[in-house]
Symmetry: C2
Subunit: 361 residues, 2 copies
């Protein structure tokens, strides 16, 4: 953790984050091994070649454009190693390497609760979400959500006077759905809009899991208000549980399909949420979030040989397994196996997933 990166370091950090095949896990591994983004970038071509395929680094022009676009929006780029990076997000393992924040970035370090739910929500559900957001806001909590239709929008609306954060899958200027333009403008002014993506990017389906991970990551608790089975809100709830956050769900009638997901969460152990008091009670019991020890720099320097790298590659499949399982299967030292996985990831032959899991890309 550094107080703030220099201009040059910031460019390196962003360039490493934007390079193909570098996801948050690989990013984290590279920084651990090489100490700085600049040194990791210098090593990347060689690592990828060893992994089996040349890598195309993000271009200087692309980084110039992203920084200029962000500046034009009045948005702020925050690297995960900087003091200004939200503490709750920094506690993720690994955190997103960078975020863009438009509006009052100081809200990101206030106690926060996420309220998420169905896009096609009932009027009652929206009313409940609005009231809950308002009450939690009055109790001092920032309300985090995803600017989607239905429950998300109602939650933001209820928390506009007290403070709300919208996390987007596209860039911080990607207003979707279009009818939320006015809501977006008020959040960008009085609240904060956050994204892991570059400004100008339009969200596509695969951006939403990362978006959801930031929604839960910024929050001490996630409340799901109305959700069908197999809906995105349940993914956010699962991520929240994995991140050690409190998960609450609003119960509903079995005759209402929008209650299937929330009732199912309650079956699985989520706390029942009938109002703000339930959330405040759940937060009382919450232990503080601890940032994992990242000990940047001073990582292992040994390189895996070709035989080990190919042995590791042969062990991968589309079904994620833990890195520890790969280590056991190869009987090689863990740092060497991890280094081989990073090389394979950079070459597009492996995908490093949060939680220490790995699969073929």
């Amino acid at each position: 953790m550094t107080s703030a990166l220099s201009e040059a370091e910031r460019r390196h950090w962003l360039r490493l984050a934007r390079t193909e095949n570098v996801g948050p896990v690989t990013f984290d591994q590279l920084i651990r091994r090489f100490g700085t983004a600049g040194q990791a970038l210098a090593a990347l071509p060689d690592l990828a070649r060893r992994g089996g395929r040349a890598i195309k680094l993000a271009t200087d022009a692309a980084i110039d454009k992203e920084l200029a676009d962000g500046a034009a929006l009045g948005a702020r780029l925050i690297a995960s190693c900087e003091a200004a990076f939200p503490h709750a997000l920094a506690a993720l393992d690994p955190p997103p390497p960078v975020i863009w924040a438009r509006g009052r970035a100081e809200l990101l370090d206030r106690p926060s609760v996420a309220i998420v739910g169905a896009r096609v929500a009932s009027a009652a559900g929206q009313r409940f979400a609005r009231g809950l957001a308002s009450e939690l806001g009055q109790a001092g909590h920032v309300i985090v959500s995803g600017l989607a239709r239905g429950i998300d929008a109602a939650a933001h609306e209820g928390a506009l006077p007290s403070g709300t954060v919208a996390v987007l899958g596209g860039g911080v200027d990607d207003i979707y759905p279009p009818e939320h333009a006015k809501l977006y403008a008020r959040i960008a002014e009085d609240g904060c809009v956050v994204s892991e993506s570059e400004p100008g990017r339009t969200a596509v389906a695969r951006d939403f899991p990362r978006r959801n991970r930031i929604i839960s990551g910024l929050s001490q608790a996630v409340v799901v208000v109305e959700a069908e089975l197999r809906s995105g809100s349940l993914i956010t709830a699962r991520l929240a549980a994995e991140q050690g956050r409190e998960v609450l769900a609003v119960p509903g009638s079995p005759l209402d399909p929008r209650a299937k997901g929330t009732n199912d969460l309650i079956r699985q152990g989520a706390a029942i949420c009938e109002g703000a008091e339930d959330v405040l009670r759940a937060l009382e019991g919450l232990r503080g979030l601890h940032e994992p020890d990242r000990s940047y720099g001073a990582g292992p320097t040994a390189d895996p040989d070709d035989a080990l790298r190919e042995a590791v590659a042969a062990l991968l499949s589309p079904t994620p397994v833990s890195r520890d399982e790969i280590v056991r299967a190869t009987s090689a030292p863990a740092p060497l196996v991890f280094a081989a996985l990073v090389e394979l990831a950079l070459a597009g032959r492996a995908e490093l997933l949060p939680g220490g899991m790995v699969a073929t890309a």
Copy 2:
């Protein structure tokens, strides 16, 4: 447990059950001590006098009338010591000393599920209860409820083709509410109507806890569909939990006051019920019910002296305490303290409660 009482024994059993100040706990204690209802009846006047007040035994005329009334209705009196007494009820500690059954009494020994809930129920709640009763009925379960308006009636209706039991607070001929006369007639014909009270009795408020205890007592599981906070259905659920029965509750929106009670049950550990499958799953995990060892007869014969009896009386208050606590406080042998409590109960100076608790009457 005897296969069936003789005519004379049955009269004694009923007369003891109908004598003032003889509740189920006192009844059970007296049978344990004296072996038969006849011997207990013979001892009663003396015991009550020792307790401090004369006792009025139920009159022969009253017993004649009750037996004649029941016979006129085609109803059957079953004593808790008889083989025909429902096994699930016999497992209660203590069981009701007698029940009247009108209709197909054989249903009382089939696997049963109680469905209870709000009298002022929503149309959706009634539809849910009816469907649940029908599905559980098709799965081989008798549906037990209380013939009340709303959820109770819907549950009975759904289970009419497969088998349903209505437990009444008044006598087995006490049709309440009056608009359920037709439903009552069908249950008395195809199902079974049960009551602990004498035929002809109109239910009053204090009959309902006993009625609720039989509803849960007859059932392996109790499902609560819609209930406000502090409602009778929640009392049935609590009794069910105390009796070792499964308790399930149907969740609902926090905006619906009829879901407050069921959501609260779920908070307290009740299983979520979204349909028949949930009930069947809960029953799979259920251990069999075991009748407590009553070892009728061969009870202690020693009599407590006046000093002990008054010491015990002085320890009682309107707040129930366990009999064991009284034993500890007196340092006297437990059988003597229990005998003193029975004497005080018969004299109307103590109330023996299920679960081994005792208070001033």
